[in-house]
């Protein structure tokens, strides 16, 4: 027990008596009343929250659509000892022009839905097994939309967690480490790691890692990591992490673990570290700071585009908002402007899906976030909503969402067992438009292109205007790019696609994306512009996009 926990136990009764003052009844201690199953009050409250929450979502969407402006700003470009502390903020992002992607309801599973099953991708099938109060499992083939039951014998221990690896289900609990072939057979006990009490498993690419606690000679706990060799059934212990994050084995389960493709990130609101298996080294991530306020809590997930953080930011105005950040290659952070319609980070499930992450939260529809660009979308019409504790598996082309539970509300539809989500197709980018041509043209009044208010506080330099001849465009489009300096000295750049009656821009991860005009038809009254990173070479970009 920590000092804080000890203090809470000893001082909370004292505080209660103090707050009650003379009206306090004798300290008879807390009631041992048991828990009534009706949850009447809780259900009522939740139902009251549902419509309001969804209304809030709709408002956020509306505001974001009206804003229709994209800005990148570079600030606080300082470098720390181990990682850059560069913080980049995007502001006022429009709702994704990519489209919502595709949802498909899965056929019913032969097993009951449950929360927190062990789940993974094995030989072309999604495996789901065990979970809270369940010991059976099933495999789902996304290609044929069909299920089969697994002949896996039960294995139940407190604190059960697991992963799929080497075409097996690996189960871990305080009582042991064991594996089984999803096709059947008995559980086979795996070797442990000397001196390490494993508590978490992480499938990192084609490797399996275990994280566990070690007792420090000087007292307290540390974090250790080990890689598993399936052929030799041996663990190779890696470097230990000196951390103050852990005070017990149980707390290992409270840390967010994320595989970014290169590193295993151990994320905690108090600090984050990353393990590089290739180097067998831990590094400390740059502190996550937001210029608008203090970060109360945050959760992490890995994606193909790097580490994604969803944070609760208490702004200086007192307003609480939920923002997303992703890690930059230099160790800094890129904040998305979107204030996400999530309301409780303790219950949000963040599912990696390639370049995307999908967020599920009780009572709310899913939210998809395109990590490189910060585009996001609320899925009001999807088959799943309000999910908590569902299994989420990225197959490489679609996200399979199964199980979990919902709070029934008037606004959340009857839950389905599961659904798949396929992200919208990626557009062609500047690296790819072999059939695009154009030549540089300097002139025009670029400021006139800016939406009302945009020009205030910025000094716009000479723009580059490039006529675009691309089969995707049905009318005369130009690329406009110009250096911009804000009045507070930040160097910025701005780029936009324009036509006589439209303007659109998309520059995620340093790339420009070409928008087929027909997908922008409904956006003719919306201005979109994007401030670009200051180090972007506009001439080079133009040349790479359109040639001379």
């Amino acid at each position: 027990m920590t000092d804080v926990e000890t203090r809470l136990r000893s001082e909370l009764p004292e505080l209660a008596d103090s707050l009650l003052g003379d009206g306090a009844a004798p300290s008879t201690g807390p009631a041992d009343a048991g828990v009534e199953q009706l949850h009447l009050g809780g259900t009522t409250l939740e139902r009251e929250r549902g419509p309001a929450a969804l209304l809030a979502v709709a408002c956020v969407v509306l505001v974001a659509m009206v804003a229709g402006l994209v800005v990148w700003r570079d600030r606080d470009a300082t470098t720390g000892d181990q990682a850059s502390e560069r913080t980049v903020v995007e502001e006022a992002r429009a709702v994704s022009p990519r489209g919502p992607g595709t949802w498909r309801t899965m056929s019913p599973a032969p097993i009951a839905p449950r929360t927190d099953p062990v789940a993974g991708w094995v030989d072309g099938e999604v495996i789901v097994w065990a979970g809270e109060s369940e010991t059976d499992g099933a495999a789902y083939d996304p290609t044929s939309d069909s299920w089969r039951s697994l002949a896996v014998p039960g294995w139940t221990h407190p604190g059960l967690t697991g992963a799929t690896f080497d075409e097996r289900i690996v189960a871990l609990a305080k009582g042991g480490l064991t594996a089984v072939d999803p096709g059947g057979g008995e559980w086979r006990e795996l070797s442990g790691v000397d001196g390490v009490l494993l508590g978490r498993l992480v499938a990192a690419g084609d490797r399996l890692f275990g994280l566990g606690v070690i007792e420090r000679p000087e007292g307290g706990f540390g974090l250790s990591i080990a890689g598993y060799d399936a052929v030799a059934d041996e663990w190779t212990r890696g470097a230990d992490l000196r951390t103050d994050l852990l005070v017990s084995w149980n707390e290992l389960h409270d840390l967010d673990l994320a595989w970014t493709g290169q590193q295993i990130v151990v994320w905690d609101a108090d600090g984050a570290s990353a393990y590089d298996p290739a180097l067998d080294e831990w590094s400390t991530l740059a502190p996550l700071l937001h210029p608008d306020g203090r970060i109360d809590t945050s959760v992490a997930a890995g994606s193909d585009a790097g580490l994604v953080i969803v944070a609760e930011v208490v702004e200086s105005t007192g307003r609480t908002s939920y923002r997303t950040a992703r890690s930059l290659s230099d160790g800094g952070w890129l904040w998305s402007p979107a204030r996400l319609p999530t309301v409780d980070l303790d219950e949000v499930t963040i599912a990696p899906a390639g370049d995307w992450v999908v967020m599920f939260e009780p009572e709310l529809p899913p939210v998809t976030l395109h990590v490189p660009s910060g585009d996001w979308e609320v899925h009001l019409d999807g088959p799943v909503a309000g999910l908590e504790g569902a299994a989420t598996i990225w197959t490489g082309s679609e996200l399979v969402v199964w199980g979990g539970r919902t709070f029934p509300t008037a606004t959340v539809p009857d839950p389905v067992d599961g659904a798949t989500w396929t992200p919208p197709a990626e557009r062609s980018t500047c690296e790819e438009p072999a059939d695009a041509t154009g030549s540089a043209l300097v002139g025009e009044s670029f400021r006139d292109l800016l939406p009302t208010g945009m020009g205030a506080g910025f000094v716009v330099g000479e723009p580059l205007v490039l006529p675009v001849d691309h089969p995707s465009f049905e009318t005369d489009w130009h690329l406009v790019a110009a250096p911009v300096t804000s009045t507070n000295g930040d160097d910025l750049g701005i780029g936009a696609w324009i036509s006589p009656d439209r303007i659109a821009a998309e520059a995620g991860g340093g790339r420009f994306h070409l928008h087929p005009a027909n997908e922008l038809a409904e956006r003719t009254s919306t201005w979109e512009a994007r401030l670009l990173p200051p180090d972007l070479d506009l001439d080079a970009l133009a040349r790479s996009c359109f040639g001379e």
Partner: protein, 160 residues
């Protein structure tokens, strides 16, 4: 100070009266830790007993139901207070005549979110196991652990 909701004139109301006598003080202490105000706590506990009284015949474990009612009453009160604070032009600091370490603890609890505060109080004051806290809050046990972990992080920062 409030009085018991019904009179003890029947076996049912007699049991309810007994429940009131037994649980009123612990529920008051629970509520005041959650909302920080003795007056509001009194109202919440009184309301909770009234709800329990209305549903008495259908309750298998009235004590547990009472606690759920109190916690939910506190949640609503905290949300109302949160709304009031957002619209208030100045923050009014409640006056507490208490030793410094208790004022510090109260202020630290005030930094917690609604659910964090509930979990901390139920876990370290009421001494409820996480699975029972999960039932009170209507969430998973894993969520309770997660909430507690983050709440303890905030408290370490505030009290450290």
């Amino acid at each position: 100070m409030s009085s018991p909701p019904p009179s003890a004139s029947s076996p049912v109301t007699g049991d309810l009266h007994e429940l009131f006598e037994r649980e009123r003080a612990p529920m008051l202490r629970l509520a005041v830790l959650l909302v920080g105000s003795a007056q509001v706590a009194e109202e919440i506990v009184q309301d909770a007993f009234e709800v329990v009284g209305q549903r008495w015949s259908s309750l298998e474990r009235p004590g547990g139901y009472l606690r759920v009612c109190v916690v939910n009453g506190c949640r609503m009160a905290l949300r109302r207070r949160d709304l009031e604070r957002r619209h208030a032009t100045t923050e009014v600091e409640p006056v507490v005549d208490a030793p410094d370490h208790l004022v510090e603890l109260r202020d630290a609890l005030d930094r917690l979110s609604e659910r964090q505060r509930i979990v901390i109080v139920l876990r370290y004051f009421v001494d409820l196991p996480d699975d029972e806290i999960a039932e009170v809050l209507g969430c998973r046990r894993a969520t309770v652990r997660s909430i507690a972990h983050r709440a303890l992080g905030v408290l370490r920062e505030e009290l450290g």
